[in-house]
Symmetry: C2
């Protein structure tokens, strides 16, 4: 059976957000939150634009999704994000009790798996490596241009 | 020498913020950010009011302080918070490179020390236990009333 709305489909939407961040001179990370196969929140990293270290794509996506649902728990939602969440974002995702997290590239330096492996809710499902090459290459290109 | 602006002085200000949270039916955690012995940001937990798990006192205080300073790094600042920061807040404080964190009560269940002990910037100084009894009793009273 053809499944048009699979993990790759939604990761491409998150990747589009990452491209927006790239164009704005932001570390290119993008995210979408999906509920019942519909995107209910889109966000990209805005730490430079807002002068705010808390303005990661995931944080904004969590806040926007909760606003959309009028409730702070995201148990029935999936977060798609181009990069492995950091400790801050994993902590926030833990509080949100989000149902599933799908991320693209791993982040060995700042990712939560190394620094806070138990930050998520025990019921949260994790999938990694979706479009990881594209997501990682975008990050590499960003830092190459910054040098 | 008398030092009127010591850690206890500023923790009392954070405690006042926690009392506001208590009155609003929020888990009573308060925070202030101090720069050059002046309070540049005050905040209290607003997760229920805003329906947003990211609205912890520390997160709001970091954002407000960065706005005030027009820069996202808080190296010369001190955060006073009534409760040990959680994983999310410790991650955010790590990104902010804040100079010093002073907290009141420990949080054995959700505090960062247990779940993400390396989340902070290596140069961040930590002081714990300032007005810890008052801070802990306020939390206990809140959860006693909720039962």
């Amino acid at each position: 059976m053809i499944e048009p709305f699979n993990d790759e489909y939604f990761m491409k939407k998150a990747f589009s957000e990452a491209l927006l961040a790239f164009e704005e001179g932001e570390v290119p990370v993008g995210a979408v939150v999906v509920s019942n196969q519909k995107i209910i929140a889109r966000a990209h990293n805005l730490t430079e634009t807002l002068n705010d270290v808390t303005a990661h794509a995931e944080m904004q996506a969590i806040t926007a999704a909760a606003n959309m649902l009028d409730g702070k728990y995201l148990n029935d939602c999936i977060l798609y994000v181009t990069l492995e969440p950091c400790v801050m974002c994993a902590g926030a995702l833990g509080w949100s009790q989000i149902g599933k997290i799908v991320y693209g590239a791993s982040d060995d330096k700042r990712g939560f798996k190394k620094f806070a492996s138990n930050a998520l809710h025990p019921k949260t499902e994790i999938v990694s490596g979706v479009l990881s090459t594209e997501c990682a290459e975008l990050m590499q290109e960003f830092f190459r241009q910054k040098r």
